[in-house]
Symmetry: C2
Subunit: 280 residues, 2 copies
């Protein structure tokens, strides 16, 4: 194997290698952005050395991040998405036919590069119901006056750019303007510290919090986690299969990975994870 | 990274690297056996270049392979395990307090090396209820006259040594001597051909077949699959949570990964996999 043909992402004693055909884009300003054409995963976005998405498996991540909170509520009309300049989350959110989706992306270079070189938004970023603001999500929620039906955080690994997205103040500001909230929460197997910090801080801000997990092959060792949190009149954190199934049939959403069975199953946590979370 | 310090297992355009501290054992006869001390996964068994187990995540595989079929029946007394000379499957099977467990391992070198250098059987292989025969599982079931409450196949990737373990004749011979059967069935994401062949051939031999999946980080891209099959009076392939929960409480089994919630969840298949299996 020619080392230069492989992209390598390491995680503490292990690493994933992805075979590269071509570098399509590279830029280093706010974050180090790389876009590759890979051998068997289609196009791949890497930020600061970490795989953010590949065309082959991004639906496994974006569908679980978006459809779990959106199927948890009756009528998602006004949706705020923080991060996710690639447009995959916006694409999935639009399938619920909301009145408006606001995307807050801190790094305009990511947005522009993804739109030009990857295009997984399938035109969603140009949809009339979608607005995009290029600013820090932390500042946006701190100053926000309007309320949202749901807020979803599609952030990167905590780093100097996104680090404050896992802090208590951020979650409290989100709680002030929404009753239902979801965030990606890293790999519980490989990135225990980040995972724990996200869970603990969302718990401080929201009355109800549940963790759900899903398989995403190109994320660290293939397991990814999310937090679904809520407050006020909404206790939508325990999935009810019959309700989900009914909404799934009514909304007629096409997916590659998500279905109501997978939604319910994703809340079943293995013993090691329940122990790690202090539940047993 | 010093290349020689890393073990690399490739799968079609991607690869997993595991950092190695030391090679504890190596032998090439029936299969190429390697046992490593790794940086962060404990000891690791590799056969013909493919990771079979690491101490850190083997329970995720062995518990799902064994407890799903054994919790699916009332009283598992007589258990046949084909493959799995490392003893992990026997260790889990003994937790159900059966009368006897018969292990058929084709490669005595694997059995001896695992017992000496890994020891994940925790003494199970020396238990009075356990017998071990070193012969080909294909031949054993072809000639077997006695019946078993359950047969479980803990085979390697199909290769010259284990290849016939995925053939119709083998499953039909198993059906003749058992009403309930489980086998590992490879990665449905990375090894579609093997996966499909296993499903199709078990379906020919057993009246009821279900696929279940689970996360095993050091298996190809982290997702692994299994088939639960049954016939005769047993239709134990659709999990019933209340029944499983009751048996789980009665048998008082300690696990690292398995619980009745995870058992039920593992049968929820994502849309891409249902499509791949021709179900939708």
């Amino acid at each position: 194997m020619e080392p230069s043909q492989w992209f390598v992402e390491g995680y503490n004693g292990s690493a994933l290698m992805i075979k590269i055909r071509e570098t399509l884009f590279e830029k280093k300003r706010l974050q180090h952005i790389q876009i590759f054409e890979t051998e068997s995963f289609g196009k791949m976005l890497v930020l600061d050395g970490k795989i953010q998405l590949t065309e082959r498996d991004e639906a496994m991540y974006h569908e679980m991040l978006i459809h779990v909170p959106l199927f948890s509520i009756e009528n998602p009309e006004k949706i705020l998405i923080i991060g996710g300049g690639d447009g995959g989350s916006v694409r999935e959110a639009l399938k619920h036919d909301p009145a408006e989706v606001l995307l807050i992306e801190i790094d305009r270079d990511v947005y522009d590069a993804c739109k030009k070189f990857i295009g997984i938004d399938n035109g969603a970023l140009g949809d009339g119901r979608v607005s995009v603001l290029f600013e820090d999500g932390i500042d946006f929620v701190r100053n926000a006056k309007e309320k949202f039906d749901v807020i979803i955080v599609d952030g990167t690994d905590p780093n100097p750019v996104s680090g404050s997205l896992v802090m208590e103040e951020f979650y409290e500001n989100c709680r002030r303007i929404t009753d239902i909230f979801a965030t990606q929460s890293q790999s519980p197997f490989v990135q225990r510290n980040y995972f724990t910090e996200i869970i603990e801080n969302t718990k401080k801000a929201f009355e109800f919090c549940s963790v759900y997990i899903n398989y995403v092959p190109t994320y660290p060792l293939g397991l990814w986690s999310y937090v679904l949190a809520s407050g006020g009149s909404i206790k939508a954190v325990e999935p009810d299969y019959e309700v989900l199934k009914k909404r799934w049939e009514e909304r007629r959403i096409e997916t590659k990975h998500y279905n109501p069975e997978v939604h319910v199953a994703s809340f079943a946590l293995p013993e090691w994870l329940r122990k790690q979370m202090g539940e047993i």
